[in-house]
């Protein structure tokens, strides 16, 4: 459904990732290549991909699209989940992640009535009960082994999410038993792939894990640097989302070694690196608007200023339109005008002003002038909070988020003046 009056805009411009293609606009994205690699690829081993992009650049939407595309070819049994739904997001360890991968595979298979062998089911249940100390009630036992295990895994998920002490205990218990855990997961994968439903078309399991990029930088580094080896142990294809800042960290080359490949979802380019407008990419953003709303509800100037100030970050773009429509409604208008966008922009800019410190500005100034970002701890923070955006042509280049540019100019001006007076 397309918004044809201003009050509908707010709901249609929801900042949730898209789950289907109704509002989807084709853009430059590595998804095509990933699909090709998975489908045509004559790989002998399951693939382990890393997938990354700025926060709010549309990764989740692209992963949803990817999952649909992959399903079409009937070569994969897709298990997709978001860690923010299945796990407590702030302190994920590799043990939690492996456990969740195993659980989600089983739960999805169970939902699709794909059974594993009775012996394995018994072995898994007994092992889970012993290691996690979660009890199965009589009622569940009578429902059958498979349902019992499904219940067990569900309960384990809840406990891992809400009970910090249980979480710690299970980690402590499983850490020295990583080999066992991986063996259980792989045995289950093979058993599911042996099921006639998958066997006939030689379907393999692929796990797509979203929202791992929402981890804070330190945790993410711990998880992917120290345990990347463990994360590649499950013998099915896996796509992990990672924070973009990891790509810029010193350890990235080493992390990358453990995975088959890494893909970056680029931001939509509003400008070219030489400072010219990138009309083609801007059109993508206009199309996104067009799919969701009647363009008579917004002035062309408003569109332009929204595009330029979003820096090509989809979250910022959608958020701008969404809050601008509230501004318009409050002013009793039925069309979004430039002033509506501007007041939103001011609010967003203030948010940046709050988080940026003096030492940030010095680096931002250099990036804005050179379009190149060099390594450094502060830079990672800047990537993480979206102050610096990365773009991709043939070569990657960076720029400061357009919302920050006026702040930056102001600062630099002040600094220059104070220097002048000092002189």
């Amino acid at each position: 459904m397309k918004a044809d009056n201003i009050s509908q805009i707010y709901n249609i411009f929801s900042i949730q990732p898209l789950v289907d293609k109704e509002y989807y606009t084709k853009r430059q994205s590595p998804v095509d290549e990933i699909v090709k690699r998975l489908i045509v690829g004559t790989t002998e081993k399951p693939e382990k991909f890393l997938f990354t992009g700025h926060r709010g650049s549309g990764k989740s939407t692209e992963l949803n699209i990817l999952s649909d595309e992959v399903k079409k070819y009937n070569k994969y049994f897709v298990v997709k989940f978001s860690v923010s739904e299945t796990l407590s997001i702030y302190d994920i360890t590799y043990i939690d992640l492996l456990l969740t991968i195993g659980s989600e595979i089983y739960k999805q298979a169970f939902k699709n009535d794909i059974k594993i062998s009775k012996e394995l089911c018994k072995d898994l249940s007994e092992w889970m009960i012993k290691r996690t100390k979660i009890e199965i009630t009589e009622e569940n036992v009578s429902a059958g082994l498979e349902a019992g295990l499904n219940y067990l895994l569900g309960k384990l998920g809840t406990k891992m999410r809400v009970e910090a002490t249980t979480r710690e205990e299970i980690r402590k218990e499983l850490k020295p038993r990583l080999g066992d855990l991986v063996e259980k997961i792989n045995t289950m994968i093979y058993s599911i792939e042996d099921n006639s439903k998958l066997m006939e078309s030689d379907k393999k399991i692929i796990v797509i894990i979203d929202d791992l990029d929402k981890l804070d930088l330190k945790r993410a580094e711990e998880l992917f640097y120290e345990s990347s080896n463990s994360l590649t142990l499950p013998n099915c294809s896996i796509i992990y989302t990672i924070p973009l800042s990891i790509v810029h960290s010193n350890e990235y080359t080493q992390i990358k070694q453990n995975f088959t490949d890494a893909f970056i979802l680029p931001n939509i380019r509003v400008w070219k690196s030489n400072g010219e407008k990138d009309e083609e990419e801007r059109k993508t953003l206009t199309t996104i608007l067009e799919k969701r709303m009647d363009l008579k509800l917004i002035s062309n100037e408003a569109i332009n200023i929204a595009i330029e100030n979003s820096g090509g970050n989809l979250y910022h773009f959608v958020y701008m339109i969404r809050s601008a429509c509230i501004n318009a409604i409050m002013r009793n208008r039925n069309k979004i005008e430039i002033e509506d966008i501007n007041s939103t922009i001011n609010n967003m800019r203030n948010d940046f002003d709050r988080i940026l410190r003096k030492e940030h500005y010095l680096i931002l100034d250099e990036i804005h002038r050179t379009k190149v970002a060099v390594d450094g701890k502060i830079l990672l923070e800047l990537f993480h909070n979206l102050s610096v955006l990365e773009y991709l042509n043939a070569k990657r280049w960076c720029d400061v988020h357009p919302l920050i540019v006026p702040l930056l100019k102001e600062r630099m001006e002040k600094q220059k003046n104070s220097k002048d007076t000092a002189r």
Partner: protein, 565 residues
């Protein structure tokens, strides 16, 4: 014998780690030799042995007719080495008969740093008791794989599942992974034929897939199979190969695992110093990569190696480190193993009461986690400790507990060992007939399960029991059976030890000709395998027999031969 023969001063360095064994030697000496015994115990305040002996001699506490027993040399390190080397003249001048007990590691130190003293002393190595009791088993840890299971049935079920999957698997990566799993699992249940077959299979596939880590694991597996088959030299070749790959691909955890396994192989070869070197390498990496469980395993292995060098204090320190970590990471099974090892170390130090405390802790955990085999082993160990305290009734009760569980879990080998231990306990109580019944039960099972080494040890025990009963014919018959087996399995060292024992038995029976015949057979083998120190004992024994036969010429010849070594 040397003590009797010596007419001037003599120093015997008795290399013996085991303190209960030392006590037994002293007891035997007391019974056999009509000398006065005087014990000097060294400690931190009392390190200068030569000075102490001089003082005691001056104050007439000791004289030429006294045998001075020196204990606790390990407390007097490092100064004692210097004292010994500089003051050996005192030993000569006083014409004293001195026996110094020292663990292997101190013997090394003496050979290295007190050569003048060492040349003057006689070295005797006492390795094992003649009578064989299934000893306190220490628990070694290796990175065979991180497979944990509570009982063999659980593992067998897992094997079934894997084999079923294997029959369906088509992709190389799957077959490789499942094969590797099966290799590890069969290794755990000691089915080496199947294990090596699967490891070789996975290695071939991983080579095809160019999966270095997989190749590394497979080769390590093959090495571990050879280790299990007691072909340690071959094991080392494979393990060194896997180490090379681990270094090549920068797999730190793999490298650490290789060091551990190499350490264990050298440990099995009896090269404890080299084992320590490897375990220390492994420990360094484990600390570096924050692998707590690995770190703890390294401490355990180091503790065991130092235990074998007789440095029990250092061993205890390591086991305590391991215990601390296991508690921290909540590894119950590991914790229990640490208690067992600490118990074993204190047992070796002769502190049976402390050993019992640790072993009971271990028992408690094994019961808690439902590890039946571990529980049974604990009863055995506790039985040994009570045996050491001389509380044979309690020991018998514990060995019976152990046997009950062994029967329950159908652990034939364990059952048989319990019979041996029960036999030994009744032997100590002086009930030789009952002892013989148990030894025979044990023998029956060893024969049944085809454990040749166990069988021959049973013969030795039976021989000893009949000897105690005064049935000398049978006492000779059994070592002869034992001899037959050693020949069969090609255990040269065992064979020559049997000849020596038979020689001694015939000597005791007054059949000197036969005694010399066996001693000469022993001589041949000892010469062949180059065990000089045993050769010296044999020469001395021959000299004693010729003395009884009134053949002074020969006595001189063999005495000279013994001196020359």
């Amino acid at each position: 014998m040397v003590l009797k023969l010596a007419n001037s001063g003599v120093i015997l360095l008795v290399e013996c780690n085991n303190i209960p064994l030392r006590n037994e030697i002293i007891k035997t000496l007391n019974e056999r030799i009509n000398f006065k015994f005087y014990t000097i115990v060294l400690d931190e305040k009392n390190k200068n042995l030569p000075a102490r002996m001089y003082m005691d001699f001056e104050s007439k506490k000791i004289d030429e007719k006294t045998v001075v027993l020196v204990e606790g040399i390990e407390n007097a390190l490092p100064e004692i080495i210097g004292y010994l080397n500089w003051s050996r003249e005192i030993f000569l001048k006083l014409k004293l008969r001195t026996i110094i007990f020292c663990p292997i590691y101190i013997m090394d130190e003496i050979i290295k740093s007190a050569p003048d003293f060492y040349r003057f002393a006689n070295r005797i190595t006492i390795k094992e008791k003649n009578e064989f009791v299934e000893g306190t088993k220490m628990q070694m840890r290796s990175f065979v794989s991180d497979i944990y299971y509570d009982n063999e049935n659980e593992l067998k079920d897992r094997i079934k599942i894997q084999e079923h999957l294997l029959s369906n698997a088509e992709d190389d990566y799957k077959v490789a992974d499942i094969s590797l799993n099966l290799g590890k699992m069969y290794l755990k249940i000691c089915n080496y034929d199947k294990s090596i077959m699967y490891f070789k299979n996975s290695k071939n596939l991983y080579e095809k897939l160019n999966d270095k880590k997989g190749i590394l694991m497979s080769i390590m597996g093959v090495g571990l199979v050879h280790n299990g088959l007691c072909d340690f030299k071959k094991a080392i070749v494979f393990l060194e190969n896997s180490l090379k790959i681990a270094k090549e691909i920068g797999d730190k955890a793999g490298e650490s695992a290789c060091y551990t396994n190499l350490g264990n192989a050298y440990y099995n070869l009896g090269d404890f110093r080299k084992a320590i070197e490897f375990h220390e390498n492994s420990l360094k990496i484990a600390k570096e990569i924050g692998d707590k469980a690995g770190e703890s395993a390294c401490y355990t292995n180091l503790g065991m190696a130092y235990c074998n060098l007789g440095d029990f204090r250092k061993a205890i320190e390591f086991h305590e480190n391991s215990l601390k970590i296991d508690k921290e990471i909540g590894d119950k099974a590991g914790e229990s193993k640490c208690y067992t090892n600490l118990g074993a170390a204190y047992y070796s130090l002769g502190d049976f009461n402390k050993a019992i405390v640790f072993l009971e802790n271990s028992l408690k955990i094994f019961k808690e986690i439902g590890d039946k085999a571990g529980e049974s082993a604990c009863y055995t160990n506790l039985g040994m400790a009570y045996d050491g305290l001389g509380n044979f009734r309690k020991a018998i009760e514990l060995h019976e507990n152990s046997m009950k569980i062994a029967k329950e879990i159908r652990d034939k080998a364990g059952e048989s060992k319990s019979y041996t231990n029960l036999g030994a306990a009744y032997h100590s109580l002086g009930d030789f007939k009952k002892a013989i019944v148990f030894y025979e039960n044990s023998l029956k099972i060893f024969k049944e399960i085809g454990d040749k080494a166990g069988e021959s040890k049973c013969y030795t025990n039976l021989g000893a029991a009949y000897y105690s009963l005064g049935d000398f014919k049978k006492a000779i018959e059994f070592p002869e059976n034992s001899l037959k087996i050693f020949k069969e399995i090609g255990d040269k060292a065992g064979e020559s030890a049997c000849y020596t024992n038979l020689g001694m038995a015939y000597d005791g029976l007054g059949n000197f000709r036969k005694a010399i015949e066996f001693y000469l057979k022993a001589e041949k083998i000892f010469e062949e395998i180059g065990q000089k120190h045993y050769l010296k004992i044999v020469y001395k024994n021959i000299a004693v027999v010729y003395e009884k036969m009134n053949n002074p010429e020969k006595v001189e010849e063999y005495k000279r031969k013994a001196e020359e070594i």
